[in-house]
Amino acid sequence: MFAFIVRRIIQSIVVMLVISFIGFSVQHNIGDPVRDMVGERVSVEEREAIRDKLGLNDPFWTQYIRFVGNAAKGDLGTSYFHSKPTLQVILSKAPATLELVLVSSIIIILLTFPIGIYSALFPRSLFSKIVMGFSTIGVAVPVFLTAIVLIYIFGVELNWLPAYGRGETVNIWGWETGLLTWDGLRHLILPSLSLSSIMLPLYIRLIRSEMMEVLETEYIKFAWAKGLNKNRVWLVHAFKNTLLPVVTVFGVEIGILFAFTLLTETVFQWQGMGFMFLEAVERSDTALLVAYLMVVGGMFVLINTVIDVIYGFINPMVRIAGAK
């Protein structure tokens, strides 16, 4: 286990270095931070002075190493627009996005596992056929369309659920949470449904096909021959083997969920990192963009490490490989 963790940490560092390099190169090559900071009316000489002061005239590698050094100390630069450290800006927006992704993931898990397993066990049932039909359509529907339709039905026509914003939030140790108030939860429903809608059809199909494959294996046949009851064969023998590939894919899919928060948060005026990112793009706030890239990259690495640990617990063969 120790060797496993050490190896993962080294891998994570390499991944983060690559992300930082890409992020920094982009920032270095597009836009002029000095112009963004001081506007058009400052003279060329003064600009040069600022450039020198900020170290923007140093060679690329010197600047990159300085950037990495600062990043390691938790300084990801200063947002030109907010005039605050970027990390601070991002962290103030992070709870909204994290809660959105969390609730969407929970919706995905709660819906896709029962539906996927059911449609694998009873592929000929009417329900399975309907689900399969919808999932084919569902894969093709873009998330903003789902969001707009949901807003129209539940927000406008039925007027059951709020259509934008986070609603009432509670501050717990600096974390603005909407999970603890009734109003906050109501505000979460439509955005998280829209966000999860991109993964639901894919996930149902994945679980279904994996489960069907497992059900055909010899060890399942042997489990029947041992006279075990249905639930034991399906939910212990078949399900545990179905989980293996599904868990791995889930780690990657969470990254995709983060990417899609850009759209969801915009449609729902959700004050999260995605919303902030699009604002930063409009304002050419390159420092904030790079910081966003670093933070999201870091979260992605962290989530996948956790997923790998979970995977090790389910798959005994990995556990052995890790122990050696």
Partner: protein
Amino acid sequence: MGHLLEVRNLEVKFALRFGDLTAIDNISFTLDKKEKLGLVGESGAGKSVTGFSIINLISKPGYISGGSILFEDRDLSKLSTGEMRKLRGHRISMIFQDPMMTLNPVLTIGTQMTETVLAHMKVSKSDAMDIALEKLKKVYIPSPEKRLFQYPHECSGGMRQRIVIAIALLTNPSLIVADEPTTALDVTIQAGIMDLLQELCTTEDMGLILITHDLAVVSQVTDKIAVMYAGRIIETGPTEEIVNNPRHPYTKGLINSLPGGLQAGSRLAQIPGMMPTLTDIPDGCAFNPRCTINGPICLEKLPELRVLDGKNHSAACHMLENDQRDK
């Protein structure tokens, strides 16, 4: 009480889009306690389907369409799903072909053993562990206590097949159906597994149905043999009789193709042609296109099993008398 197992006129069909296909046609055999029956034939002859139909686990869309399977005086083909489940792995156990595939890779051996015990007996978990341990010892697994907490991938193929056999023994069944139990194993390990099965039949008072394409294996282990071809039994009798005095041309061909007493470099005998698939079984005797002694009647009439010379030896061939004359 009659036989331990009596299969009477068993017929198994597969429901396909263009109609039902007969996979097993009118098969009958009996088995007593401690008796060992070998079901022999090429791939696709219906051996495995016969084996699986006994525990009613034929893969879809197969189903038992006729006949009866009397086991301990109950007709298995008429049992409900629940009653059948209680018999499976309890009174009748099955051993599968490939031990690398039969054990669930993500569950410990202990779990896979105790769950069987707990499914059929009212015992506590620790009692179930004790039973599992006892059976592992019975199949000569080294350090069985350790094995209980290991996963299948930590054991070798031969070891896994011993574990599968131990699982089959857990509830002291009276019948074991072994479907090609040694086909996937090394030759050196094969003999050990066969000896073990043979020994257990005697000590545990069980009947054994050994499904295999390997006549050599069957002749060493079993008391009697049923040779299958295209879904029918074409010759059956005591092992000694079948091996030393085969009567059906197909059985003769099988025995001649064994590499016994041959010179190095000489060619093995083989039966020309292939077994027909179920969709195009020829009229008359299914073996006639490959037969060397066939006559006009073989193309028209399906031969029935006929008893020969009073030693429980019967064969389904029109040409038996002619054949005898030729000798």
